[in-house]
């Protein structure tokens, strides 16, 4: 178990992949015929081995335990043979079937092990041969669908999502408006109304740069006497009023504002 995520296995069991692997090992070391599985001997050895093992992974432990339970069940049947004569290696039909099944599974597993070993040899041979793994040619326009699978699609979408996560959305800053421009804006607004709210000029989105520029513009206008500012409560909205000492006409002439003129008063 090298490339498999099985953190729960102790060193002792690492050599055995599962209960069948262990059972097969026990059968082979005692050189018994798989088809006539000697339940007594194998069960004792199996349990002895299990005792020396500590499992951390419940699932692996479970698979070993299920096998242990099966073996113990079979052994218990041997102790109570159908003929009533203990000692005979004889099982009732159900037990015999179970034994046969177990023997068949073992034989099957043994075969798979052999095939696995054959594949390993084959892999080692092929490792000595080097061929192209990436094409020099441009990829075909048509993607061969038979090469695709659900797994590859999920992997592709997951990779895409991961990439998106890493790439945080970039914020595009609007060109900050200048204090002078904002002053002009406020002035042109004040031409059509006596007072207006700071928030309506600065924008409800509370973009920091916008608010700072607006505040600076307002303060400058207050300093120049072009506007008055009133804040009735802490953190409350600021009411901007037209400065009394600046005639409307002068302000209009000084500012080069793009704001629309009030209706009925053409520029």
């Amino acid at each position: 178990m090298t490339d498999v995520a099985a953190p729960g296995l102790t060193v002792r069991v690492e050599a055995f992949e599962g209960p069948l692997d262990l059972l097969l090992h026990l059968c082979r070391t005692s050189e018994v015929d798989l088809s006539r599985l000697p339940i007594r001997a194998v069960t004792d050895q199996y349990l002895a081995h299990l005792e020396s093992v500590q499992f951390q992974d419940l699932e692996t432990a479970g698979s070993f335990m299920v096998m242990a339970a099966t073996l113990i069940y079979l052994k218990s049947k041997l102790l109570l043979p159908p003929t009533g004569e203990p000692g005979e290696d004889e099982l009732d039909p159900e037990g015999e079937l179970l034994r046969q099944e177990l023997a068949a599974r073992l034989a099957e597993y043994a075969r798979v092990k052999t095939l696995g070993a054959w594949l390993a040899g084959r892999e080692a041979e092929q490792a000595l041969l080097f061929g192209r793994t990436t094409a020099e040619l441009p990829p075909p326009e048509e993607i061969p669908l038979q090469d695709l699978s659900v797994h590859l699609l999920t992997r592709a979408i997951n990779r895409l999502i991961e990439d998106q996560k890493r790439e945080r959305p970039r914020e595009v800053e609007p060109n900050p408006i200048s204090v002078l421009e904002r002053m002009g804006e406020i002035m042109s607004l004040l031409r059509s109304t006596w007072s207006l709210l700071f928030s309506s000029v600065a924008g409800g989105d509370r973009v920091r740069a916008e608010w700072v520029v607006t505040l600076l513009a307002l303060l400058e206008m207050v300093r120049l006497g072009q506007a008055r500012a009133r804040q009735s409560e802490l953190f409350g909205d600021i009411v901007i009023e037209r400065g009394s000492d600046v005639p409307v006409g002068v302000a209009a002439g000084e500012t080069d504002d793009p704001a629309p003129m009030p209706e009925g008063e053409p520029a």
Partner: protein
């Protein structure tokens, strides 16, 4: 330099996957698949006779240009790494089960191995040695797995028939049934379903014959 045999060499050189006879025939506008095969044989002979470091391999239903094993040590040096990450024993055994019984579901693979095969299957999927072939029409509709062309290429096989004949039949026990009786029934069915004519039971086959 534009003789068909030279073009074929270029085709195999430039391609990352095995080139099928049909493709060779199409690209070179050959009259028949037989002609394509003859051409491949001619190129194989030429590479061999000239003592070249390359050879043609028939894998995964096509032809591939690969280096000869004798030059492997130098190529490993060139790569400055071990050739390839080898598959673990569980992976190889799982692959063997799938190769012989495809398409096969995870519970069936688990039943043969006696342990959970989730992680191993994921690893094989990741390496593209197996792929999902669909779903099995059984409770839970588990995925069915089959081997890929990459599997054939990785193990130098023309097709799955190139695999050695298993010693006796590969029988997948049914996933554990809730009742002992049902299990017995299944075992009988399985044993009955075994068709001896299709198999070539070796010495181990007799073990199973006694089951029914």
């Amino acid at each position: 330099m534009t003789e068909p045999i030279d073009i074929l060499e270029a085709l195999l050189f430039a391609s990352d996957s095995p080139v099928e006879t049909a493709t060779i025939r199409e690209v070179l506008a050959l009259p028949s698949a037989e002609a394509a095969r003859t051409l491949v044989e001619a190129l194989t002979a030429r590479l061999r006779d000239e003592g070249r470091a390359l050879q043609i391999m028939e894998v995964g239903g096509g032809f591939r240009l690969v280096t000869r094993p004798e030059v492997a040590p130098w190529l490993v040096k060139l790569a400055r790494a071990r050739t390839r990450q080898r598959l673990s024993r569980p992976s190889l055994e799982t692959l063997a089960i799938i190769a012989y019984r495809q398409p096969v579901s995870r519970p069936e693979v688990d039943a043969v191995r006696g342990v959970n095969s989730d992680a191993v299957l994921d690893n094989l999927l990741e390496r593209r040695l197996i792929r999902i072939a669909g779903r099995k029409d059984s409770p839970g509709r588990p995925f069915l797995y089959e081997t890929t062309r990459e599997f054939l290429v990785a193990f130098g096989l023309r097709d799955v028939a190139d695999l050695p004949k298993p010693d006796g039949e590969l029988i997948i026990p049914e996933p554990p049934a809730p009742e002992g009786e049902a299990q017995g029934e299944l075992a009988k069915e399985l044993a009955g379903a075994a068709d001896p004519s299709q198999q070539d039971p070796g010495p181990g086959g007799t073990e199973l014959a006694s089951r029914g």
